[in-house]
Symmetry: C2
Subunit: 157 residues, 2 copies
């Protein structure tokens, strides 16, 4: 089990180092949240109707992958706060296992690259890899994200 820090420090580019790890608080996923998200953005039977979902490949209701990504973003903000904001330029995600109602999710993350900008002294790109895991330790999402991160004394944002 991951034991999250009580108050994670706010980090700037100056603080970022390859190998820096973090873990986050847990979040329980409610069935109504899965359905509400999917009705808006991904209204497919296996995301919005438990009865129909039971007859699909998934054998029951599962969260949209984009919902898992959005929940992961919230967990990331709480677990790894970045000065001037967490600004994603892009990234790569995969959903190796589904998220189901009443799953308890948490994230485990690591900084895998730190690249100061060649054009601007005050910023750089930090690559963060996260695994979002359920209560059984199964990985429901992997994410490699490139974040725009500023130095501590920057006035740019």
């Amino acid at each position: 089990m991951s034991l999250p820090q009580d108050t994670p420090p706010i980090r700037y580019l100056d603080d970022m180092k390859v190998g820096l790890r973090f873990t986050g608080e847990s979040r329980v996923v409610q069935e109504r949240e899965i359905i509400a998200f999917a009705r808006q953005f991904d209204p497919q039977p296996f995301h919005i109707d438990a009865g129909l979902a039971s007859q699909t490949l998934f054998g029951g209701l599962i969260a949209s992958g984009w919902h898992t990504a959005a929940m992961t973003m919230r967990l990331l903000l709480d677990a790894f706060p970045i000065g001037n904001g967490t600004i994603g330029l892009g990234g790569e995600a995969a959903w190796p296992n589904p998220v189901r109602a009443n799953d308890t999710l948490h994230i485990e993350g690591e900084v895998t690259a730190v690249a100061p900008s060649r054009s601007y002294d005050d910023r750089g790109i930090v690559t963060v890899c996260t695994e979002t895991k359920n209560q059984n330790g199964e990985v429901v999402q992997t994410l490699t994200a490139n974040l725009l991160v500023f130095r501590r004394k920057s006035n740019s944002v």
Copy 2:
């Protein structure tokens, strides 16, 4: 301007070919939608408060990238329906330009790879690249997604 089809056909693995292109209907993004999504999943000043956002790098309120991804999913479902569902295994996204309130988004997509499964006759992986564009033709998201797609006669889902 893209001219979407009236009723896009439902496609199975049998129908997928590299170079197959599609476009979708437009969607206007409301400020309240940007704020509602971000309050839940990405509550940073530049996503939830127009006043604070005006003092940031972005000069105003912008949508969370995950919100753009979720809206793109909805546009994709409508523009390119897939038999047995649109099941994403993962993918790569980038957000080269921000989405702002009252932007009108649409997607343009193309199938870039079709890989029948080596283990199962009834399915394969189809790679779809989409660009989500605003009313000025600026790309607000690129996405390369790997989708699990079944053959027409499959009973698997």
